[in-house]
């Protein structure tokens, strides 16, 4: 150990050196942050859900305690339930779509070829754009007399005017499309990383054994890509369930409630209708719905990571 300077300073520094102290240094502020920020929040959330409080009626600590009333109201609120179902449905459509798309793109971009750099740079662009911008940018594109319809007309050979923003299903497709457009980039990144990490020599061995391209893909590459696929699905669905920006900016959750995801509805309940307790109760229900999913996702991530360190690369 190097000699310290003045005894006082040396003493402090040496104390910080000790492994027991050193390793906890970053944890203290972080755990403190979480403890101060997230824990009280959660407790507050639970408490609020047990009240019957509207912001307009004064401070929350004066509000009436009504127990599980808010929950009952929430579960009877069909709009809430629809929003919940809709959100999961959107995710269920968007994520597989992206996965397939990205799989194809990543496989095509695997070996280096002229122009590959340019393609990958372009493909990553959407990720960098503010989702709110994407939202209204697409709203510009998708107006009845907009360029998108014009392109469709070109391909269809006749004038196409799909009313993307004012009709039920097209609006939903538009919102899903926004999500796919933007986040394919991230999934592409993950897949490219995964493909690059495939061990080379087992694949060459398989070639020498006479395996066809398809056999190599199916028996060797795909199983080895399982962790990557797991990560991509987890990441993407995590974000898809939070969908807020696109409905807000593309369609204002319209027409009607066609694109009202649960995040948007909760926002409305809490901020536009000011029924805070109801919003709190609904948030908790949402949390429960998502928690199952989170647990599964974490378990999968853990398993794949563990399997990787065990398998190594032989």
């Amino acid at each position: 150990m190097t000699a310290a300077g003045a005894p006082g300073a040396g003493g402090l520094r040496r104390w910080l050196e000790r492994e027991r102290v050193f390793k906890w240094l970053p944890f203290v502020p972080v755990q403190g942050l979480f403890a101060l920020l997230l824990l009280p929040n959660f407790l507050l959330l639970v408490y609020l859900s047990l009240l019957s409080w509207r912001i307009t009626r004064g401070a929350w600590w004066n509000a009436a305690f009504t127990g599980l009333d808010s929950f009952q109201r929430a579960l009877e609120d069909s709009r809430f339930l629809w929003a919940l179902a809709r959100t999961f449905a959107f995710a269920a459509v968007a994520v597989p779509l992206e996965l397939l798309l990205v799989f194809g793109l990543a496989m095509l971009c695997r070996r280096s070829f002229r122009g590959r750099r340019i393609y990958t740079s372009v493909f990553l662009l959407p990720m960098m754009i503010v989702p709110a911008v994407v939202g209204y940018d697409l709203s510009m594109l998708l107006i009845d007399q907009g360029p998108f319809n014009q392109l469709l007309s070109l391909f269809a050979g006749r004038t196409v005017t799909v009313r993307w923003l004012s009709e039920y299903t097209p609006a939903q497709l538009a919102v899903i499309g926004a999500d796919v457009w933007q986040w394919t980039a991230l999934t592409f990144l993950v897949f490219t990383a995964g493909l690059a990490g495939l061990p080379e020599e087992p694949i060459r061995a398989a070639r020498v054994m006479g395996a066809s391209r398809w056999q190599i893909f199916w028996h060797i590459e795909l199983p080895l890509l399982k962790p990557v696929i797991a990560i991509a699905v987890i990441l993407r669905s995590m974000e898809a369930l939070k969908m807020f920006d696109y409905p807000m900016l593309l369609t204002q959750a319209g027409p009607g409630n066609a694109t009202e995801t649960v995040a948007v509805y909760l926002w409305r309940v809490g901020w536009e209708f000011a029924r805070v307790s109801d919003a709190a109760a609904m948030s908790l229900i949402l949390l429960v719905a998502v928690a199952m999913y989170i647990l599964v996702a974490i378990r999968v991530l853990r398993r794949e990571r563990r399997r990787l360190t065990e398998e190594g690369a032989v």
Binding site: E201, R207, V208, G312, V314
Partner: protein
């Protein structure tokens, strides 16, 4: 069963000539070792034989087939890679069975053959395990089993033993040779380790900078090197090299170096700068006869012999390998000579062997 023929085989990567037009004929059943330092082209050559690299020039024949353009899978080869390349997500059984599954062999047949091969290489008890749980030697055998199970006509091996520790390496060397003895197939084995080459090969192919330097049986390559590179590559410790000049003499030649001069009667070797080569085991410590004086500067006892470093006045010491019983100490003054019939001379510029 098939022999291999390489005709004017070449591979160029951008500006580098990895393999520079080599010709080689490997008779069926021979165990051939391609040996050389890193970058000499041996692995590239092997990959071309396997079909993993496409030659930029020349042809390859396996048996009677001109396979130059064939896909690797059509060439009926077995290949073991340096990293063993076992499929980490499959059990040992599935690893060995994989080539059979590709060819759509019936499951019952697969079961039989995998178990048979498993017994041959003594991995039968490991069939349910995964590669990550195997030891180095066990993994080696599984890799071997995987190639054996398809009964290929040619076996290719790319430095398969380099990841093993010394003891295991020696064991596996014997295993592989034994396998060769039983199967009598053609083996093409790549290594950078000259000891491996010497002990395993029927014939050695020495490669350097993309070209074949010499082809021959191990003792031939050792005792009769074609050039300085080959001479210096084999033998531990390496051959002693002394730079000097050759002068034509009546009836022969004379080699003159900084502190050395000797006559070579009966040898017409021309004249000019030359390098004299003599192996440590051919440097003798003598007390009489034509010799040169030297002082012992370093002693390395090997157990069965002793290495003696001799300062004789030349630019670097000579190494002599002497009997372990010799009593020597640093600083001793001794005289040394060479076994005349074991001296080799090389052209200083080209490195080529000079002989009558």
């Amino acid at each position: 069963m098939a022999g291999i023929r390489l005709q004017r085989l070449g591979k160029v990567f951008g500006a580098t000539r990895a393999v520079d037009g080599i010709d080689l004929t490997i008779p069926d059943g021979e165990f051939v070792v391609l040996v050389g330092p890193s970058g000499c082209g041996k692995t590239t050559t092997l990959n071309m034989i396997a079909g993993l690299e496409v030659p930029t020039s020349g042809d390859i024949w396996i048996g009677d087939d001109r396979v130059t353009d064939w896909e690797p899978g059509d060439r009926s080869l077995g290949m073991v890679f340096q990293s063993l390349a076992l499929f980490p997500h499959m059990t040992v059984f599935d690893n060995i069975a994989f080539p059979l599954r590709i060819k759509r062999v019936a499951p019952a047949e697969i079961e039989r053959r995998v178990r048979a091969v498993g017994d041959t290489v003594h991995v039968g008890h490991l069939l349910a395990k995964r590669p990550a749980t195997l030891s180095g030697g066990e993994a080696q055998r599984v890799a071997l089993a995987r190639t054996l199970v398809v009964e290929p006509s040619v076996f290719l091996m790319d430095e398969p033993l380099s990841s093993l520790d010394a003891k295991l390496r020696v064991e596996m060397r014997t295993e592989i040779k034994r396998l060769h003895g039983t199967l009598r197939s053609t083996f093409v084995y790549v290594t950078h380790d000259q000891a491996e080459a010497m002990t395993m090969a029927d014939r050695i192919v020495v490669m350097h900078q993309g070209r074949i330097q010499q082809v021959g049986r191990p003792l031939e390559v050792y005792g009769n090197p074609a050039n300085r590179f080959v001479a210096g590559f084999f033998g531990v410790p390496a051959m002693n090299f002394v730079e000097g000049e050759l002068h034509a003499e009546s009836g022969g030649a004379r080699f003159v170096a900084q502190a050395l001069g000797l006559s070579l009667p009966g040898q017409r070797l021309g004249s000019g700068p030359a390098v004299l080569g003599v192996r440590p085991e051919h440097v003798r410590l003598v007390s009489a006869g034509e010799s040169w004086p030297a002082a012992v500067s370093l002693i390395e006892p090997l157990g069965d012999a002793t290495l003696v470093f001799l300062d004789y006045g030349g630019p670097s010491s000579l190494v002599a390998k002497v009997d372990a019983e010799e009593k020597l100490a640093v600083g001793n003054r001794r005289s040394f000579t060479f076994r005349r019939d074991r001296i080799v001379l090389f052209d200083a510029a080209t490195g080529g062997r000079l002989s009558t």
